[in-house]
Subunit: 135 residues, 2 copies
DNA sequence: CTTATAAATGTTATATTATTACATAGTGTT
DNA sequence: AACACTATGTAATAATATAACATTTATAAG
C-alpha cells in the first residue's frame, strides 16, 4: 500500500520532517543555527539544508518565522491554514511567543484597505509586552 | 546663541544626524551596510557606529525597522510619535514600503486584547501585496 | 568652572544569520 | 526508459549584527 498520492502531496520530505519535528516539540521559537546544531546527529550538516527545509515549511504554513527574532515556531492555528495571516504575542522579558488566533483580528486585518483602497494578500503582526508570568 | 536646551534635547548627535539624513532622503528602505557604505566619506567607518545610531533613532521613533527586510525607513507618521505602533505596506515585486497611518487601524490594534485579556504595549504590522504600479 | 556622570564615538575583532553555486540523488509522470 | 521536478549534499562566502574596550564629548550639579 504505502502512501497514497494525496497523502504524499501533503507529506514532508526527510529533512523537512526532521526539522519540523524539532520545531514542533520546542516550547520556544528556534533559530536556524540552533536547529542545525540539534539535527547534526540526524545527518543534516550544513546551513542550506536547514534553510531550504525552513523555507518550504514556511511556504506550507507548517511553521512561521518570527521576524523580529529570526526564529521559527510551529503553527498551532486551525491546522496551519493561515500562513498568510499571522499574529503573535512576544514577551519582551522571557521571550515567550504565542500565536494569536482571533477571528475578529484576522477578519479586521484581512479586510483592511489602506487610504488608496488597496487590499493586501498577506500580513504579519507582532505584539510586544509582558506575559502573565513576567508582570 | 546656538542651540537652546529644549532644542538640544530633541536634537541628534553627529552620527545620528548623518545617518538620519541619509535614510530620510532615501525613497526606499536602507540596509545597515548600505548606510555604512554611504557614510564612510563622512567619517563613519565601522558597523557599530551605524548600528548604534540606528538603535537610538529607532528608540526615538525617527526611523523604523522593516523587520522582514532588515532595512530602515524614516518615520512619516504624525511627527514620529508612534514608534510603538507601526504598520507598513510592502510590495512583493518592487519592494516599495509605505508607512500606513490609519487612525482606525491603530486604534483597533492599540486596544486589542487577546483571549486572556492581555493588552500589549507595542506592535508592528507588515502587510504584503502588490503596489499600484506592479499590479 | 570644575567635577561627576552619562552619552556618544572610534576601533578591532568576532558572532550570527543567510545565500550562492554546483554536483548528485530521488520521485512522479508519460 | 526518458523526462521533469523536487530534494539533497557540500564547500565556500555573503550579509547582518554584536562584544569589548579605549577615548572623547556633552550635560548637570556643586
Amino acid at each position: 500500500m504505502g502512501i497514497s498520492k494525496i497523502d504524499k502531496m501533503h507529506s514532508l520530505s526527510k529533512n523537512q520532517q526532521i526539522i519540523f519535528d524539532l520545531i514542533d516539540k520546542s516550547p520556544e521559537p528556534l533559530k536556524a543555527y540552533t536547529i542545525l546544531f540539534n539535527v547534526q546527529k540526524r545527518g543534516i550538516k550544513a546551513p542550506p539544508q536547514v534553510y531550504r527545509a525552513l523555507d518550504k515549511l514556511v511556504e506550507m504554513g507548517k511553521i512561521h518565522k518570527i521576524e523580529s527574532r529570526n526564529a521559527f515556531i510551529a503553527c498551532h492555528n486551525s491546522s496551519c491554514q493561515v500562513a498568510k495571516a499571522t499574529a503573535f504575542s512576544i514577551c519582551e522579558i522571557c521571550e515567550k511567543v504565542t500565536e494569536i488566533s482571533s477571528a475578529g483580528l484576522s477578519k479586521y486585518l484581512t479586510s483592511f484597505k489602506d487610504k488608496d483602497g488597496m487590499k493586501y494578500s498577506k500580513y504579519n503582526l507582532e505584539f510586544f509586552g509582558l506575559c502573565k508570568k513576567c508582570r
